[in-house]
């Protein structure tokens, strides 16, 4: 089994964060990042083509592995999912950036056959980076809607779970999502709202 951060540390950090200690988040972030990233890569290398990556399953597994579940208040779980959604976003964006870098011919890189296969994807990485940018603009106008998008699209949470994390009703989640998604679509398809 791979090295993993001590459970109680994560558990403590989660508790501290929930109690409002923001620096706990700073410590939590890299730990969870590494775990999620590792799991995601492992899933993908195992399943390869034709399989989808189940974000929720991934985060659940990270949760089970990272958090000492003996004395954890349930509320910590929402916090864990919230940070995980944020981190999944970051992981994917990081990968997309590297992908773009590679495509620009960064360094002495040569494109291998394997990679040529993934290039068939219609500029997935560019799309993702644009979405990320649009989501940042959305966050400036409307932080809650951008969070809903993050939790749902990057964290794989369903409406009920999102409602729990953000302390809003499920109906509100649905409405937020509709609006945010329409706006993001508009941004990505090139027209501007401004």
């Amino acid at each position: 089994m791979a090295e993993k951060p001590p459970q109680h540390e994560i558990t403590q950090l989660l508790a501290q964060w929930r109690e409002g200690n923001q620096s706990a988040l700073d410590e939590l972030y890299p730990l969870v990042y590494d775990e999620l990233h590792r799991l995601a890569r492992r899933y993908m290398s195992r399943e390869r083509k034709g399989h989808t990556l189940q974000t929720t399953a991934l985060i659940n597994e990270a949760y089970v592995r990272l958090v000492d579940q003996r004395n954890v208040p349930w509320a910590n779980r929402s916090h864990f999912f919230a940070i995980s959604a944020q981190i999944m976003r970051r992981i994917l964006i990081d990968h997309a950036r590297r992908h773009q870098y590679a495509k620009r011919g960064g360094g002495a890189r040569q494109v291998s056959l394997d990679e040529a296969a993934t290039v068939v994807m219609p500029d997935q990485s560019g799309e993702l980076l644009r979405l990320d940018e649009a989501l940042k603009s959305l966050a400036e106008m409307d932080p809650r809607r951008s969070q809903v998008v993050e939790l749902r699209y990057f964290g794989g949470l369903n409406n009920e779970e999102i409602a729990g994390v953000l302390h809003i009703s499920e109906n509100t989640v649905t409405r937020d999502w509709n609006m945010a998604r329409a706006w993001l679509y508009q941004q990505l398809s090139g027209s501007t709202a401004n």
Binding site: M1, P6, H8, E9, L13, S23, D26, E27, Y29, P30, Y33, D34, H37, R41, M44, S45, H51, T52, L53, T55, V64, R70, I91, L92, H95, A96, R98, H99, Y101, A102, G106, G107, A108, R109, Q110, D114, T118, M121, Q124, S125, L128, E140, M141, D142, V149, Y153, F154, G156, R175, N178, M179, R181, A182, L184, Y185, Q186, S189, S191, A193, N194
Partner: protein
């Protein structure tokens, strides 16, 4: 767009999309009044809403859409910068050796001299940082001038297509970190490795080069002859820069940067000197400190300063007095003196030069050789350090077959001897060679869905809340040889019935005597499964210096068919007597992050792992 405008649009939008086309147009028109631009915005958004639905925009999840991106880096957070077979300047890439915080390492052939080298290629983001590169270049230049057998030889430092690389000799071997995890070191080996690292430091310090990042990951042991090579002279400064970025900057980008160097924080901080932790001036004595910490770890299996978080660790480094070696293991006093001197908080109280420390170690080594005692060749008796030895499980002696419907563990003891020693309260710990039984355990959990394993197994230090579908394996290890018996006591009320978990006919040839230092997986190839009855499942661990005649008969009940159920009431009764008698003298329990160590101040250890079963 202002947030106010956005909210205005939002209020109209959310109702509008619930209406059919005709009603919608009217509704929007009435809500927007004469504000045409508002109407246009709302209509555009409604239009996008329809298209997004039709296109199934963001219907899946980001990870699904972006999954192929995740597969293009198999090695680490960085993509492979170079590929096998690729020409890179005058080098041909033969293989990838892995990645570190700074970039990728490749096995390559230098076509000019036809020699095999290790090629470290710095990741582009580091290469692009001019200030850091300048420093790095200068240090690498100095480091390459070092010519000492224990320092990794630097052949070339250069740039190809904007990528900075370092070509060094290639060492076929393992890092001291891997070595430490794989086995316990003998005293003679510890001294030998330390002397070689110090010899490298001595040469570097003579040349006024401070390594700054001495840690087990930076020490290679050559497979062929055990020669030690110290790596990464001159790279440390760059790493250190990353550090300060994280420590003093809450910018999320900085955190990302930190994590692109996995292990930088966790790995480095444990060996960091107080002056490094305080970010004050450092000199050669900082390397002496790190060397001391490594030696401490090699001897005891524990890192002297370690907190649950980075900042706790720093506080420990700055303030905590380390536990003396001899409190943890049976180590020679002279060795303790050397190590403790190296990790004195104040640089002036440490060895002032690597040469001085080297001299002390060499004379210690001589004495060892002269006395050539058993001690020299036998592994140190150490309590276990969570997270160090635990990861690599040695080949196991006990092959327990697909097993019992219920589990439990017992740490057993020798009754004859214990009648004398068990009465001794554990408070009075004799200063010399205390009578003690030590057993370390951890539990591996495999989730099952139906008959099939589901997800990867994970390990826990001890008690878990057991859930349906969990199957487990108990791992035990002791620095001492002893007789081991493991029994499961289910949650049933009334007179308990036990199931044998260990020994079994297939494991250890059916014998209960377990060799020192061996990790025993129970069962080895399959998993223990509990029945569906809820409550506390006890695994009684009984570990004894001498054979326990009253427990030996349990072997005959070890069978897969019966789940190891002991059907002899008299035997069950005598087991109960044993556990009742001896669980009264509670063993000391050290719960680590990944292991639990149980110690009894007697020749018999009896301990129950309790698993809550829901």
């Amino acid at each position: 767009m202002t947030p106010e405008r956005w909210q205005q649009i939002s209020r109209i939008f959310k109702s509008a999309i619930l209406l059919d086309n005709e009603a919608r147009a009217a509704y929007v028109a009435s809500r927007c009044g004469r504000d045409d631009s508002l109407r246009v915005e709302v209509e555009k958004l409604i239009d996008s809403y329809g298209k997004a639905n039709a296109d199934e925009f963001m219907n899946g999840m980001a990870a699904e859409a972006a999954a192929p991106l995740l597969t293009d880096d198999e090695i680490g957070p960085h993509q492979d910068i170079l590929n096998k077979g690729q020409q890179f300047g005058s080098y041909i890439i033969l293989d990838s050796l892995g990645s570190g915080g700074m970039g990728e390492v490749y096995l390559a052939r230098d076509t000019r001299l036809d020699r095999t080298v290790a090629l470290k290629v710095l990741s582009p983001d580091i290469s692009q940082d001019k200030r850091r590169m300048q420093r790095f270049r200068q240090e690498a230049k100095v480091a390459s001038s070092l010519n000492q057998p224990n320092i990794l030889t630097v052949f070339e430092f250069g740039e190809v297509d904007g990528l900075t690389f370092l070509a060094t000799e290639y060492i076929d071997g393992e890092t001291l970190r891997d070595h430490l995890e794989a086995k316990r070191l003998k005293l003679s080996e510890i001294v030998d490795i330390s002397i070689q690292v110090l010899a490298a430091l001595d040469a570097a310090h003579e040349a006024r080069i401070v390594h700054r990042d001495i840690k087990p990951e930076n020490v290679m042991l050559r497979r062929r002859d055990g020669v030690v090579k110290v790596l990464d002279f001159g790279l440390a400064k760059v790493t250190e820069h990353k550090y300060s970025t994280l420590e003093h900057d809450s910018d999320p980008e900085a955190i990302t940067e930190f994590r692109t160097a996995p292990g930088v924080i966790m790995g480095t901080i444990n060996y960091m000197s107080p002056e490094q932790a305080k970010a004050s001036e450092i000199d050669e004595r900082t390397d002496i400190w790190s060397m001391g910490v490594i030696m401490y770890e090699m001897v005891t299996g524990k890192i002297p300063f370690r907190g649950s978080t980075t900042s706790h660790t720093i506080v420990q480094i700055l303030e905590k007095d380390p536990v003396p070696l001899t409190k943890l293991v049976k180590a020679p006093v002279e060795l303790e003196r050397i190590v403790m001197k190296a990790i004195a908080k104040k640089p002036v109280e440490r060895y002032q030069t690597a040469k001085d420390m080297l001299a002390d170690l060499r004379s210690f080594q001589k004495r060892l050789e002269i006395s050539a005692e058993l001690e020299q060749t036998s592994p140190l008796v150490t309590p276990d350090e969570p997270g160090l030895g635990a990861k690599k499980k040695r080949v196991l002696v006990f092959a327990v077959v697909g097993m019992l419907l219920a589990t439990a563990a017992i740490f057993a003891i020798n009754i004859r001897r214990s009648s004398r020693s068990a009465a001794t309260p554990s408070v009075t710990t004799p200063a010399v060679a205390p009578v003690e039984r030590t057993l370390t355990y951890w539990i591996t959990v495999q989730k099952f869905k139906g008959r099939n394993p589901y997800q990867d197994p994970f390990s826990l230090a001890g008690e878990i809340n057991f859930e349906t579908g969990y199957r487990i394996r108990v791992n035990v290890r002791s620095p001492q040889q002893g007789y081991l018996y493991i029994l499961n006591e289910g949650p049933a009320s009334g007179a308990p019935e036990y199931n044998v978990v260990f020994p079994t006919p297939t494991a250890n040839n059916g014998a209960s005597l377990v060799p020192a230092g061996e990790t025993i997986q129970i069962p080895k190839k399959s998993w223990l499964r509990f029945d569906t009855q809820q409550g506390v499942e006890k695994l009684w661990l009984v570990f004894s210096e001498n054979v326990l005649t009253e427990l030996e008969p349990i072997k005959q009940f070890a069978s897969i068919e019966t789940g190891g159920l002991i059907t002899d009431p008299a035997l069950n009764k005598s087991i109960k007597n044993l556990t009742d008698t001896h669980s009264a003298t509670k063993p000391g329990v050290e719960k680590g992050e990944t292991l639990t160590t149980v110690k009894a101040a007697s020749k018999l250890l009896v301990y129950a792992i309790k698993l809550e079963h829901h």
